[in-house]
């Protein structure tokens, strides 16, 4: 098999657990081998954790699902060693156009800025994403991936979770210290626990077609309002690898999904869009109705909901899988530290706080886009049409046109894990923000800042003019001796000689993006989010910020005390 492809079908193999006399206990069991469950397994395995992954099927995802993977999702997958394969196979894009009728309203460019390792977006079929991720999973002996293992029962107790699993060889049970429910929008875990999944359904239908054709449309996201080939509705065209194109056609609520799915009805619609002389083949066609909803709580005792099982959004904005990957980025390091006894249980509570906040942001954005595309009332339609009409001549109205606000990572600005910001900083890298990338060099070789941040707690330290190899070694030792070792990532300005192991800020971009001065110190979480920063590093302050970031801050300490109080 070549580098560019990966297996998509797998075989069920019985596990010795199935014939054990008493249910075998595992520290972490993940339900679901979709993008989110697979990434969670990789993240934990990279930390040396043993995990069991159960999936009710034995293939990667089928049909038309995620295609757009965001920069942040790619950075996370890069940390999990799959980033290069995804980017290499994917179609890199950053530009788009929005049309109204036959006219182009405006064009956009998502990443006009240079100096990031990962592109703004790639397009890649979800089945390719999963296949590459499974390929990496199979390299990890820590991961026990079991196909055709369907979760059919859960008993969520204070001392562990007992799972009942159905296989081709019958049922068996497992016990998990922690269970991660990555079983998707129709989550069996949610159903078995009787949990509500509340939100709104949008009264509209969309024909989603993946079409194989040789065409020379540019690799841009093209979105139409009221195009001549789909009067009164919207349409989207976007390129994927292997000459596959994603086409969305809005149908309206009255459309009959069964009829619309039939090739004899689909083909004329596509010919009207693509022109009569374009040869194409249908890879997959479905009719979807979209919704935005979420669980009230992402954590129920020892069970964590991650990805679509916790929150579901309409696809305008590509916030589904991309946000699910940010869930695991957030949870894996916390779970690892708690399993190791290095952080208190209260750290796990921050998973819900931070990711429910992010889910609300994603739901808000996706709902607004969907409301713009499918107005819910006459007044809402009148405003929408007014925006489109004005957008021709008035720049401000172009900013109001909403065909999807594309996925960006959340800044956990209100998180209890953050320390208060220090005065005098400008820019986006506030406590809670995901670190931005910058090109740097290490020992004369080009590399990227994000490759050196994350995995563990890190100190991003901008060297002073007076810095010496000795002063740096001293700082490195002090950081390594903290209750939780912090890895020193020292950055020197270009034109100076960085000691071995330190980075050079090749194009001054780390400096600009982190608003640095000599001595500026950022404390970075293992998921590459800033948690504290100072103009001058003070050991006392660093220790305090680290405590907070481990869930031992004043707020969590109170919550713990309360829990003990009620338990007593």
């Amino acid at each position: 098999m070549s580098e560019g492809t990966a297996a998509t079908d797998f075989t069920y193999q019985p596990s010795p657990d199935q014939s054990a006399a008493t249910p075998v206990r595992h520290p972490v069991v993940i339900i679901g081998a979709g993008p989110v469950g697979l990434a969670a397994a990789l993240d934990l395995a990279q930390r040396g954790r043993k995990v069991v992954v159960l999936d009710d099927d034995n293939t990667v995802s089928t049909g038309s699902r995620a295609i757009c993977w965001s920069k942040r999702a790619l950075e996370i997958m890069d940390r999990l060693s799959v980033g290069d394969a995804l980017v290499e196979k994917g179609v890199t894009w950053q530009k788009g156009k929005v049309f109204f009728g036959e006219e182009q309203l405006y064009a956009f460019d998502l990443l006009p800025e240079e100096g990031h390792r990962m592109p703004a977006f790639i397009n890649l079929q979800q089945y390719h994403f999963e296949a590459f991720t499974v390929r990496e999973v199979l390299k990890h002996p820590e991961i026990d991936l079991r196909w055709n293992n369907r979760l059919v029962g859960v008993d969520n107790r204070e001392d562990g979770v007992t799972l009942t699993i159905e296989t081709p060889d019958g049922e068996y049970s497992l016990v998990a210290d922690y269970m991660l429910a990555a079983d998707g929008a129709r989550s069996a875990t949610r159903r078995l626990l009787g949990l509500d999944f509340k939100g709104q359904i949008f009264k509209d239908r969309f024909l989603i077609a993946d079409v194989i054709m040789k065409a020379d449309f540019p690799t841009e996201r093209w979105f139409w309002f009221d195009p001549p080939f789909n009067k009164g509705q919207s349409a989207l065209l976007h390129k994927q690898p292997d000459d596959v194109w994603r086409i969305d056609l809005q149908l309206g609520w009255d459309a009959d999904p069964e009829e619309e799915r039939k090739p004899e009805n689909v083909i004329p619609r596509l010919k009207a869009m693509l022109g009569n002389d374009v040869d194409f083949e249908l890879e997959w066609v479905s009719v979807y109705t979209f919704q935005c909803r979420r669980l009230e709580k992402f954590r129920h005792g020892r069970i964590f909901f991650i990805g679509d099982s916790a929150h579901q959004v309409s696809p305008f904005g590509a916030r589904g899988a991309n946000s699910g990957l940010q869930d695991i980025d957030n949870l894996a390091w916390k779970l690892d530290l708690v399993l190791d006894g290095k952080a208190p249980e209260s750290l796990l509570a921050s998973y819900h706080d931070e990711r429910a906040f992010a889910a609300d942001e994603n739901i808000l954005n996706s709902t607004r886009s969907t409301d713009f595309i499918t107005p819910k009332s006459d007044a809402s339609r009148a405003f929408r049409d007014a925006v489109l009409d004005l957008a021709r001549d008035h720049g401000f109205a172009r900013r109001l046109v909403n065909s999807g606000r594309l996925s960006l990572p959340s800044t956990y600005s209100d998180s209890g894990l953050n320390s208060p910001d220090s005065p005098g900083f400008i820019g986006a890298m506030i406590p809670g923000a995901p670190c931005v990338d910058a090109p740097v060099t290490l020992d004369g070789k080009d590399t990227w800042l994000l490759h050196h941040l994350g995995g563990d707690f890190c100190a991003l330290y901008f060297a002073r003019e007076t810095e010496t190899a000795e002063s740096l070694a001293q700082l490195r030792d002090n950081l390594a001796a903290l209750e939780m070792p912090v890895k020193l990532v020292a950055v020197f300005p270009p034109g100076t000689t960085a000691p071995a192991g330190a980075l050079t800020d090749r194009d001054h971009l780390a400096d600009a993006r982190y608003d640095s001065r000599p001595g500026t110190f950022y404390l970075i979480r293992p998921d590459q989010h800033v948690t504290a920063r100072w103009r001058q590093a003070d050991p006392q302050a660093i220790r305090g910020a680290l405590q907070r970031a481990l869930g031992k801050g004043p707020a969590s300490a109170e919550a713990d005390a309360e829990k003990e109080g009620t338990a007593a």
């Binding site: 007044a379 009148a382 405003f383 049409d385 007014a386 925006v387 004005l390 008035h394 109205a397 109001l400």
Partner: protein, 70 residues
């Protein structure tokens, strides 16, 4: 925020030098329009003015004042 601060942004005193003329401009603009076109017109006008005002608070207060009693 006190009630007084709440209403401090939106100017309610008369500001138009020829109010009757402006009123007529607004009414005339709807002449010969179907109810649907009138709604389209009103929507465009609201968007143009909202952008011109460019002040979140003034807009929020205007929305509140306009909703009153409906």
């Amino acid at each position: 925020m006190s009630a007084q601060q709440m209403t401090a942004q939106l100017k309610s005193e008369a500001r138009l030098t020829r109010p009757d003329d402006i009123y007529q401009v607004l009414i005339d603009a709807h002449r010969d329009l179907t109810p649907e076109q009138s709604q389209a017109f009103n929507s465009r006008l609201v968007l143009l003015l909202a952008n011109h005002i460019g002040d979140d608070e003034v807009i929020a207060e205007s929305v509140e004042a306009a909703r009153k009693g409906l």
